[in-house]
């Protein structure tokens, strides 16, 4: 082997993301489209490359077809390499039988052989569920500086949301004194981002021990990290301050997309020094027609726009006909919104058809009871008939007939 990598990344991309409902019916959560031309996994992958980490194992399990296809040989991220590069790691058959990845730690355990081939000093564990731009090399420097065995990236979340996260109580020197998993009355607002750096030799030992342990959930957060902590290993928290969002629910996915249109949000995708790479379709520039009105939106190549677009994110090859309106919505590739249709406060998945005069979603201010309001979701390839109405806060997975 040529130059031995100091640190390799293992990206946990097997999650179903069940709270995303029909959006993850046929694809794993990391493959969910985001931001006009990206998928969630583009963020950790691009972060790796931009941080100088060129060996990445991607662990897939749930509905891997689209994700495997998307990552391919890793060329869009410059990860098609002779030495290292991106590797898809699926569960496999062994002499003792076939096992799915039982938990996050077990997934890494089952791929010890992969990591050993590179024999790295450090292993970076990532998940494919978050939107953020982060320089892992700075975290690695911190890890080395602290002479840590394990470093966990954390960010300060608003106190009122803290009870939804795994929290850490951190000493003045950055070492972690206690962990709290989703406590009712949080004593800290420092939440784990699910980004870990381990000394590989240490992690290896704990993974093997954890695997042998009866009744272990084989999970990093619940099993391996607490075990290391109680054994007195050097555990440190690395503070990240920047934009970070778990897009695990429909409303957070919707929010995270619209955050791109908010200049006050600290997520700049136009930054040349930290580009987010993706696999692009071959589409011409988008066309904005004579009758169109576009404001405060993000529009991708291949779109044909003749209607009104406000506060929305449109993916590639979306058609919006004359008189149609799209507001506060996310419209994924290939969808057609016909004449006079209205799509508002919604997420429309790929290749859907919204027929003439149909209305999808509702404004929160028009609700009798605002608590019942929510983002509407139209599934892949679904057709909403002429003049049909789709209520707020629903998921539509099969065709809806016309109103007449």
């Amino acid at each position: 082997m040529a130059v031995k990598p100091e640190c390799i990344a293992m990206l946990l991309a097997g999650g179903q993301g069940s709270r995303l409902g029909i959006l993850t019916k046929n694809i794993a959560k990391p493959a969910v489209p985001y931001g006009g031309k990206y998928r969630i996994i583009d963020f950790p992958l691009s972060n790796c490359v931009n941080s100088g980490i060129y060996t990445v194992g991607v662990l897939t399990q749930y509905q891997p077809l689209e994700l495997n296809d998307y990552i391919g040989n890793g060329q869009p991220w410059d990860l098609d390499r002779a030495n290292g590069g991106v590797h898809i790691l699926s569960p496999y058959q062994q002499i003792k039988g076939t096992e799915w990845y039982k938990g996050t730690a077990n997934a890494i355990y089952q791929n010890i052989n992969f990591i050993e081939r590179y024999d790295p000093e450090y292993v970076l564990i990532l998940s494919g569920d978050h939107i953020y731009k982060m320089d892992y090399s700075k975290m690695l420097d911190y890890h080395k500086e602290k002479n840590a065995d394990c470093t966990i990236a954390m960010l300060e979340v608003p106190w009122e949301e803290a009870s939804r996260f795994g929290l850490m109580i951190v000493n003045d020197d950055g070492s972690i004194s206690e962990f709290e998993e989703k406590p009712k009355n949080p004593r800290s607002n420092k939440a784990s981002m699910g980004v870990y750096i381990f000394n590989w030799k240490k992690l290896r030992k704990y993974l093997i021990e954890d695997e042998a342990k009866e009744g272990s959930g084989n999970d990093f957060g619940h099993d391996v990290i607490p075990a290391m902590h109680s054994a007195g290993e050097r555990m440190f928290a690395y503070q990240f301050d920047g934009y970070w969002k778990d897009v695990g629910t429909i409303s957070s996915l919707w929010d995270a997309n619209l955050d791109l249109l908010n200049p006050k949000v600290d997520l700049d995708l136009t930054d040349d020094s930290w580009r987010i790479y993706s696999r692009s379709p071959a589409a011409p520039p988008h066309y904005i027609g004579e009758t169109a009105k576009v404001e405060n939106s993000m529009i991708t190549e291949g779109c044909e726009i003749n209607g009104d677009i406000d506060f929305s994110v449109l993916f590639a090859n979306v058609t919006v006909e004359e008189g149609a309106e799209v507001r506060y919505s996310i419209v994924m590739p290939g969808t057609v919104i016909k004449k006079g249709a209205v799509v508002q406060y919604s997420i429309v998945a790929e290749n859907a058809v919204i027929e003439e005069g149909a209305v999808v979603g509702e404004k929160p201010e028009n609700m009798a009871d605002v608590k019942e309001w929510g983002v509407s979701v139209i599934g892949n390839g679904v057709k909403i008939g002429k003049g049909a109405k789709v209520a707020p806060n629903v998921m539509i997975d099969s065709d809806v007939g016309g109103a007449e």
Binding site: T270, P285, E295
Partner: protein
């Protein structure tokens, strides 16, 4: 597929002199076009979409930007161990690297052509914008048992120098060629794409070299009687770029859906180098009408009847009309552009005004700051 048996050759420098402004720093092949492409993307994609797997790109001068753009041929799936794309730099023959005509240029690459085991050679220029199915072209060539087949279009030709008109009999066999001298009525004009058997091409090139003939048109006209030369009509949108004016006009013709549909079809996409730009961002109060906008643009002003390439910034209050703005250019606050072609990475500072006429667009060079 018959295209498997064809070697594609693209002349990247042909007719550079027709677009002196845009080709001062680059080849015709690397002239930016249609918001995110270079002209060479069209013939390259046509070849790949037709099933051609081996392509040689002939260069003459100023080809750094072309090499930067096509690289190893990856975006066209032409980065291969076997076959794929090869850049053919000028070969040091008697004229020291500056080939003058297409026959001379081909002769310079004759060893590349001979080493190919393909039965046919298809060659084409970069200044012809069209989506053409070469597979049909090749099949027509084979069906007629022709020695040479020349693609042509019927219509009013562009005013390029040495425009060639084809005269054909009822069967489509070329009976004569002539210089186009009439630009007001429809004629059958050559698109300068040809298919020829490789061994015949080699023989003709050797003959031409010893007779000091540089140009392939001369070879064709000298051989009309001896060889079976046929025409193949390309129908659909096709434009020859022969001047800054035609570059401007043809670009803006793409604002019409019916024209766009004929060039960017779902089953034959046009590939280009990917730049990983974000989608275009429209600010509050922006207004865009009848325009093509590429990824990476940031628009806070007004844009009408225009084409914006990747990464163009239009600041608040700026107005762009009837213009073509190339990659990475910045248009400052309250500045106005009308009938302007502005090359890459230029900067128009706030409160400036530039106006041309639709019959005489103003050209602003690459990287110029105003």
């Amino acid at each position: 597929m018959s295209a498997k048996n064809v070697l594609g050759i693209i002349f990247s420098n042909a007719y550079d002199e027709a677009l002196p402004e845009l080709t001062a720093l680059r080849t015709m092949g690397s002239v930016p076009f249609a918001g995110r492409y270079r002209l060479i993307d069209f013939p390259l994609s046509n070849m790949v979409n037709s099933g051609i797997t081996q392509v040689g790109v002939i260069t003459k001068s100023n080809y750094r930007s072309l090499m930067d753009h096509i690289g190893t041929g990856k975006p066209w799936d032409l980065s291969r161990k076997r076959e794929g794309m090869t850049i053919l730099p000028p070969f040091n023959t008697s004229k020291a690297g500056i080939n003058t005509g297409r026959a001379d240029a081909l002769y310079g690459s004759i060893s590349y052509i001979s080493n190919s085991n393909k039965e046919y050679v298809l060659f084409t220029d970069c200044n012809v914008v069209c989506s053409m199915n070469y597979d049909k072209f090749i099949k027509a060539h084979i069906a007629k048992d022709a020695d040479i087949t020349i693609a042509y279009a019927n219509g009013i030709p562009s005013k390029i120098e040495n425009g060639t008109e084809l005269f054909m009999d009822a069967d489509g066999r070329v009976t004569g060629t002539g210089l186009v001298d009439c630009y007001s009525s429809s004629v059958n004009y050559s698109l300068k794409s040809m298919i020829i058997r490789r061994t015949l091409l080699e023989r003709l090139l050797h003959e031409a070299h010893s007779a000091k003939i540089d140009d392939f048109e001369t070879i064709v006209s000298k051989n009309i009687k001896h060889l079976r030369i046929y025409g193949y009509e390309h129908t659909g949108f096709v434009r020859v770029l022969d001047s800054l004016q035609s570059y401007y006009d043809v670009s803006l013709e793409l604002l019409k859906l019916e024209n766009r549909k004929q060039i960017f079809t779902a089953d034959s996409p046009v590939y280009t180098k990917v730049r990983d730009e974000v989608p275009a961002i429209y600010g509050i109060g922006s207004s865009v009408k009848n325009s093509l906008i590429a990824d990476g643009c940031r628009i806070d002003g007004e844009v009408e009847n225009s084409i914006l390439f990747r990464g163009v910034t239009v600041a608040k209050g700026a107005k762009i009309k009837n213009s073509i703005v190339m990659q990475g250019t910045y248009i400052g606050e309250n500045s106005t552009l009308d009938c302007v072609i502005i090359d890459k990475a230029a900067v128009l500072k706030p409160n400036k005004m530039l106006c041309g006429d639709s019959n005489y667009p103003v050209y602003i060079g690459k990287g110029i700051v105003i």
